[in-house]
């Protein structure tokens, strides 16, 4: 658990981060969302002391981070960067093993843990001898994630981790990432400017603007109960799509008037996915109508 209390950072007269407070819970992915320069990355980097705050305090699992040496603190925090930030003179195996080597792990332990992660991230073993410049952007980013996960820290920080990827690669990685069991026991904070990524991955979303945290809450809370017009306007463009996406078929289920024909095939999907699936075949026209009606019922109750 990460607790941030009244943290500020100024660069000259520019307030990069202005009295921000929030808490990131165990086993959740908290997304800090905002446009460039809103202070989200600065906030993130204060957690592993890449940036030192001017004011305020940060606790990890109840311990003030100032009371530890920065190097020791950072070894217990996984960090994924925007450009992967792999070491160009190390091959993949060496890149993944950086932190374990700093922690003086045994060779065998490093090897088995590396192989375990490769499998989970759908990477082949032969990549281990490649150098970063020989990899695709998606592969580099996965290696970056593996490097951050290897020491199995309780905190994972991600700074626009998928920002440099094309849309298709990105959505593939999103899917893998969401289902990664490695994240189950962690507090993850992910910074992004990509609204769909925030809704895709975030258990909770914190929206930032001009150094301030404007609103923090679950996707549904943010969407249906915006704190002010800024939040409302921020999602205006894709609002409807997000509404469909954050509602799972299971959540809408109680409002269905009749059993769906293709019930089994959309069991674990969200409404958006289910509707897309139904719209491809005429035979599902009835299902399409029924689900849409049920969703409208559900939505009515959310906005009250």
């Amino acid at each position: 658990m990460i607790t941030i209390e009244g943290v500020s950072k100024n660069y000259g007269s520019n307030k990069a981060v202005d009295r921000v407070s929030f808490q990131a819970n165990d086993r959740e992915i908290l997304v800090l969302l905002g446009t460039s320069g809103c202070g989200k990355t600065t906030t993130l980097k204060m957690i592993n002391r890449l940036v030192e705050p001017d004011n305020g305090t940060i606790y990890i699992d109840g311990k003030n981070i100032r009371e530890q040496k920065p190097e020791a603190l950072r070894k217990n925090i996984g960090f994924v960067m925007q450009q992967a930030g792999l070491f160009p003179h190390y091959n993949v195996a060496q890149n993944i093993a950086v932190v374990p080597n700093l922690l003086n792990w045994e060779k065998q332990k490093i090897e088995s843990r590396t192989l375990q992660l490769l499998e989970k991230l759908h990477l082949t073993e032969e990549l281990l001898n490649y150098f970063p410049h020989e990899l695709s952007g998606g592969q580099q980013q996965r290696i970056g994630v593996a490097r951050a996960l290897i020491a199995d820290t309780s905190v994972l920080l991600m700074d626009e981790p998928f920002g440099a990827l094309d849309t298709i690669t990105k959505s593939a990685i999103h899917d893998e990432f969401k289902n990664l069991d490695e994240l189950r026991n962690k507090t993850t904070i992910l910074v992004t400017h990509d609204v769909s990524e925030a809704f895709e991955l975030g258990h909770r979303i914190g929206l930032m603007d001009k150094g301030k945290l404007i609103q923090i809450g679950s996707p549904a809370e943010i969407l249906y109960h915006p704190a002010n017009s800024f939040v409302k306007d921020f999602f205006a463009g894709n609002r409807l799509m997000f509404e469909y996406k954050i509602a799972s078929v299971k959540m809408v289920q109680p409002y269905l008037k009749k059993q769906l024909k293709a019930q089994e095939r959309i069991q674990n999907a969200n409404v958006w996915e289910a509707l897309q699936f139904f719209s491809t075949e005429h035979t599902f026209n009835e299902d399409y109508e029924a689900l849409l009606q049920a969703f409208n019922q559900y939505r009515k109750l959310q906005t009250v």
């Binding site: 960067m81 932190v99 700093l102």
Partner: protein, 522 residues
């Protein structure tokens, strides 16, 4: 073809000396380079950490780089004496700038994203430096070392000026002895060394980190080995430490004559005449080969040993000029001869003393002298053609050149252009033969022994008497080169062996024979 053969003959005859010089040259280059690496890389890292220092450090290294090498070597003598030590330190200073600059550029040029990644993963400053910044900056740092290595091979030739040996002994000896084979025997290996080092280091630049680490260990071993070599090899224990110029080393009226006629085997160090007197004065050397009219004899309180078996032929100075040139410039001969017979040994020594010790400019000394002789005339406007005067690279020649310039400008309508500091006899003489200059003051002895090089019998015959020497060179130069020796200026600037007055008195040495006897005692 005969030229080619004689070059190989020279190499074969001198191969021991050549190998020694190559060894010394490599030793000087490597040792200074490794020391420069040991100093330069940490400095480069330091200024990459504290950027405010970078302008200062890079500026300083840049300024030192611009100091002429021979001047830098000169500064080293009072501090470090002569031999390998001052040479290595001077070379070290020259190698510093490229190494510091490239280390700085390499370390600051590492992608900040990668550095941040290293920090974020929990590396401390040292881990970041050695695991990330150094390896990534290595190609740039090695490029700097490569530049420094090539510079050092070149500058190391000048090490012979301070008795540190190296291929400069052949190169500068060859230039002053007019011996092309000797020059090439020094220059070709020096060039090859530079090219080889460049290729080897260029190869390292592209190699992997593992190879690099291995190479660094090997270099460490070389460093220690050459260091020990210099430590134990450069301390010859002789009663009398002699330092001779490269020219003197190879001449019959020099070290060769001392060996054959006086039986004096001194094992001398090879040293530049620019710093020889200073070194003698500082008691780094006991015996030097100087010139009898040198002002520094007076300045540094040295005493000339009497040449009791006359191995040094007379060196009367006179301008040499092409017969063709004299015809081209009517009135020039009479003007130049105005100086004939006007300056004797003591006057010349005194004039030299004024420039060497009293630091008067050659121009002022020349003018004062001409005025005192009622020879000085105000310069004409000079509407005629230009006459180019050359001089060798020492004070006396500068004074003579100024006098000739004033005389020509005062007595004729020609314009004058001066080309001072033409390194040695060979350079001056070649410049004259190739019409790069019109005349320069030369010495009869040099003309005889360095340029004409007649048989030993002829030398023995004509060098006993100054008049005979002059007549002989006059005749032969006209015949062989169509060159004229004008009338002698009057002084005799012969070679001479000299010691500190105090030491000579203490050891009761007045003549070269007495020196020989002293050295023969055990």
């Amino acid at each position: 073809m005969t030229e080619q053969q004689s070059f190989w003959e020279f190499i074969i005859a001198q191969h021991e000396k050549l190998l020694l010089q190559i060894g010394q040259h490599l030793g000087l280059t490597f040792l200074s380079l490794l020391l420069a690496i040991a100093v330069g890389i940490p400095l480069g890292v330091l200024i990459s950490r504290r950027r405010t220092l970078s302008t200062l450090v890079l500026g300083m290294a840049g300024i030192v780089q611009t100091v002429p090498s021979i001047a830098l070597l000169g500064f080293m003598i009072p501090l470090f004496g002569i031999g390998a030590k001052p040479a290595i330190i001077a070379l070290l200073i020259y190698a510093l700038l490229p190494i510091i600059r490239n280390t700085y550029a390499g370390v600051t040029g590492v992608d900040p994203v990668v550095v941040e990644a290293a920090t974020a993963l929990g590396m401390n400053k040292n881990q970041r430096l050695f695991k990330v910044e150094f390896p990534l900056a290595m190609p740039v740092i090695i490029a700097g070392i490569r530049t420094a290595a090539v510079i050092n091979v070149g500058v190391a030739t000048l090490a012979s000026f301070v008795a540190a040996g190296g291929l400069g002994e052949f190169i500068f000896g060859g230039i002053s002895l007019n011996n092309s084979n000797m020059i090439l025997a020094g220059a070709i290996p020096a060039a090859l060394l530079a090219v080889m080092l460049d290729l080897i280091i260029g190869y390292l630049q592209k190699s992997t980190l593992k190879t690099l680490r291995r190479v660094f260990y090997i270099l460490g071993v070389i460093l220690i080995a050459t260091g020990l070599y210099f430590l134990f090899s450069t301390k010859p224990e002789h009663k009398i430490i002699a330092g001779f110029t490269p020219e003197f080393m190879g001449r019959q009226d020099g070290d060769l004559g001392l060996r054959s006629i006086y039986g004096l085997k001194l094992n001398p160090l090879v040293v530049s005449d620019a710093i020889m007197y200073e070194a003698a004065y500082q008691a780094k050397l006991d015996l030097i080969s100087g010139y009898s009219t040198d002002g520094r004899i007076k300045a540094f309180d040295l005493v000339v040993l009497e040449d009791d078996k006359t191995i040094f032929p007379p060196y009367y100075a006179a301008p040499i000029i092409k017969t063709r040139t004299l015809k081209k410039f009517p009135g020039l001969e009479e003007t130049l001869n105005l100086l004939a017979g006007k300056i004797n040994d003591s006057i010349m020594t005194n004039l030299n003393y004024k420039t060497e010790l009293l630091k008067q400019t050659p121009e002022k000394v020349a003018k004062d002298f001409l005025v005192s002789q009622h020879l000085y005339k105000k310069a004409n406007l000079g509407t005629g053609e230009t006459i180019r005067i050359g001089s060798k690279i020492f004070g006396e020649q500068y004074i003579l050149l100024e006098m000739y310039k004033m005389l020509i400008e005062g007595y004729t309508n020609y314009k004058v252009e001066t080309k001072t500091g033409l390194g040695g006899t060979k350079i001056c003489f070649d410049a004259l033969m190739n019409d790069a200059i019109d005349f320069y003051p030369e010495y009869t002895g040099t003309g005889l022994l360095v340029l004409l090089k007649p048989s030993e019998k002829t030398i023995a015959k004509v060098s006993k008497d100054s008049r005979q020497t002059y007549v002989y060179v006059q005749r032969e130069f006209k015949k062989q080169y169509s060159l004229q020796w004008l009338k002698p200026i009057g002084f005799n600037n012969a070679y001479a062996l000299m010691m500190r007055r105090s030491q000579a008195q203490e050891l009761h040495i007045r003549t070269i024979s007495e020196l020989g006897n002293y050295c023969a005692e055990k």
